[in-house]
Symmetry: C2
Subunit: 250 residues, 2 copies
DNA sequence: CGCGAAGTTGAAACAGGTCAATGCTTGTGG
DNA sequence: CCACAAGCATTGACCTGTTTCAACTTCGCG
């Protein structure tokens, strides 16, 4: 096996600790090898910084490797709508790459690390490894499915329901990644983020959240989240967000 | 050029009157030829019928050829959220095909005609014609972008704004397809559809719509829509939905 | 210790929801 | 050709979830 050129200061894909988690579909040998070359480098972004902004057409595509980010749009009146959250393994910036224009921005919620790919080479990916091209489509379709669910939640649920949906959704996604420990998971959102994701005002978010905590449905503190009574949450929602199926990672 | 096998009772892709509209990116010769074979047939669905339902994993993928459809989810409390509308040229059922599970249903809004593709053969499309695979990704990313905009609208706009956004959005899409005639375009939605798409109640949709009509911003009647003062609508929205860029069609 | 960011709480105003009734079309069958 | 049913649109009255405004508190950190 030829040891392909590879920047010495970056993690080679085949030994990526994230990729090798059970949540991700294992890749065939040639695909991993391609990816190792496809990967142009790594990048760190500090919490609170935008890594992609509306209107731009980035020269890069990313896979989030550690930390949290979120996609959002700013409305003319100053309001912000968070479209969804990106967790490790999620592709970031596909719209900018494929549509050559961004209708939204992406901001780091925590300090994050990303794998960087060059837009120009995406075409080679489709040509040389159709299976990877298919995986990119899979990720795009899956992300749309997440936005679909959020739209339904924001459009049709009461404040309680929207909050319940959001926390359970984020819980399930972390569960899929094996990130629940001691009955808790990370939860780096401020109440402002929650409000902007659910389409509620900050004040009402606070009150409703407080009530859910008081009723023993949610535990919050120290940037972590606990869900002591998931069945009750599911009852409240009527139907639960589905667990993420085994998925590809680019 | 070999005249490939082709069901005699269906329109061959190369002479498809929809595909040859300026809104769509022309395909290279080999791709069109592949598509002619990829196309398994045509299908008609009557207004009001579901062509895909939640939970199923359809054996087929469609391109809407004429008429309107919409994607939606039903909530446990009986509410319905319309996720977006499909117009001619839109791919329908990609999530079911790629994710192998549908989180939403699709219903014909008018009588519709669809081109039918077999799910099994999608893989061949990626292998044999990477350019088409890329186009599928493009369509998925674009559709997500539409849902993004709806989510921002439903999450952050007032009732007036949501309605203004919806009608302008549908106007612009039809404009892209050359479907505006005599200052009007088709508008087959009932107020119930509008309510379900905007996350409003039927009654409030009616009142707000009525007010917009009264103010000369919207004209409705006979299943058609007129927008007499688009600049005023754009001012109301603060920013307008972007016109659709030239796009691929499968 | 002090400052800024985030969280909390009360009171008042309002957008939008719910309930309920009434018109208006349109298509169908007698 | 009329009568009726069914779906859709419209309007009024009332109610409540949510927003807004405006404090005040707590937390994290230099």
């Amino acid at each position: 096996m030829t040891q392909a050129r590879h920047r010495p200061d970056t993690v080679p894909c085949e030994s990526c600790s994230l990729r090798n988690k059970p949540a991700f579909r294992p890749l065939a040998e040639p695909e991993v090898e391609f990816l190792r070359n496809f990967k142009a480098g790594e990048m760190r972004v500090a919490a609170g910084s935008d890594l992609l902004v509306t209107g731009s057409s980035s020269a890069h595509l990313f896979t989030l490797w550690s930390g949290w980010a979120f996609r959002y749009v700013l409305l003319p009146d100053g309001g912000r709508q968070i479209l969804n959250f990106a967790l490790p393994g999620d592709l970031v910036g596909l719209q900018a790459t494929v549509l050559e224009q961004m209708e939204h921005a992406v901001q780091a919620l925590t300090d994050i690390t990303l794998c960087v790919f060059e837009r120009k080479r995406l075409w080679a990916l489709y040509q040389e490894h159709p299976a990877l091209g298919f995986d990119v489509t899979w990720l795009a379709a899956h992300e749309e499915s997440l936005v679909d669910q959020s739209l339904a939640s924001v459009g049709r649920r009461t404040a309680r329901g929207r909050l319940a949906f959001l926390v359970l959704h984020l819980w399930r996604r972390q569960e899929g990644l094996g990130l629940i420990s001691g009955g808790r998971c990370d939860f780096p959102l401020t109440q402002q983020h929650i409000a902007d994701a659910t389409g509620l005002s900050l004040v009402h978010t606070n009150r409703t959240l407080r009530r859910l905590v008081g009723q023993g449905l949610i535990e919050l503190g120290g940037g972590r989240l606990g869900l002591p009574d998931i069945p009750a949450l599911e009852r409240l929602l009527g139907d639960a967000p589905k667990p993420t199926p085994p998925r590809p990672m680019i």
